[in-house]
Subunit: 131 residues, 2 copies
DNA sequence: CTTGACGTTGACGTAAACGTAAAGCAATAC
DNA sequence: GTATTGCTTTACGTTTACGTCAACGTCAAG
């Protein structure tokens, strides 16, 4: 059964920038750092589905506060060859570190949300008292 | 009934820096930005419980990826006078914005952790196949 | 064929978050 | 006394993550 997905869709840097709501300078900056590497048609950059996936990962990483260099190592991690046993074990180790980091963030996040809740209740109580 | 807590404990900048595992330069930088404002004994800085609380908030904000300026507005928010009704309503509005932001982060975080889980399973499957 | 839209590569500027001396006061240690 | 330790300010340096020109190539439209 042949694949039905047409993966030949391409986009220009302007289209990509608009879709992700960043400037083309930003897109090129990510390329300079090796976070994406679009094809070239002559001198122009051509972006494919795969590049969009990477951009989504990058922007989410940014929203989470990761530096771009770290984001690059994470993305690379997802694409390192996993042929040899030693490589797999290395990747699994890295996954562990990532998880530890993310779980710390979730604890911080929960704490912040909890305090926010308590603070809101306290404010609402003050407001009621003013009625 | 008198308060039993002794709130006269104080620390020097070096002690504070060590306890929070940052440099004294960092602590002073936060002071320059108005995130903390320790007392002065002559020329020296004196840190109290309240400053520690703020530092905890700052560092958690940093782990969550917030810029220091935004952290300052958050901390200030927790300390704005809430006497007048308009002030309370402003604060409640800010709380809402904060919550929206934090909840977006949690979605990002959950997505990242989910992908990490799936990636780990895929790696473990590869590893089993190598046995 | 020139204009305009869109693409390209430098290269320099900037804001944030500190790092890193440099140079000086102030109290305790010997 | 002086020497060391700890704190201070002043001030320039650095890294990250882009912004902002400048100067040029290219292709379809008028």
């Amino acid at each position: 059964m042949a694949s039905r997905v047409k993966d030949d869709e391409t986009w220009t840097i302007r289209e990509i920038a608009q879709e992700f709501d960043v400037t083309h300078r930003t897109v090129r900056h990510y390329e300079e750092l090796g976070l994406i590497s679009p094809e070239r048609h002559g001198t122009s950059r051509i972006y494919r589905r795969r590049d969009k996936t990477r951009l989504n990962l990058i922007l989410r990483g940014k929203r989470l506060g990761f530096p771009l260099e770290e984001i690059r190592t994470i993305i690379d991690l997802y694409e390192t060859p996993r042929g040899r046993r030693s490589q797999l074990e290395y990747v699994l180790g890295q996954i562990g570190e990532r998880r530890t980091d993310l779980e710390q963030r979730r604890r911080d996040l929960d704490a912040a949300l909890g305090e926010l809740d308590r603070f809101e209740e306290s404010c609402r109580a003050d407001l009621d008292r003013l009625r």
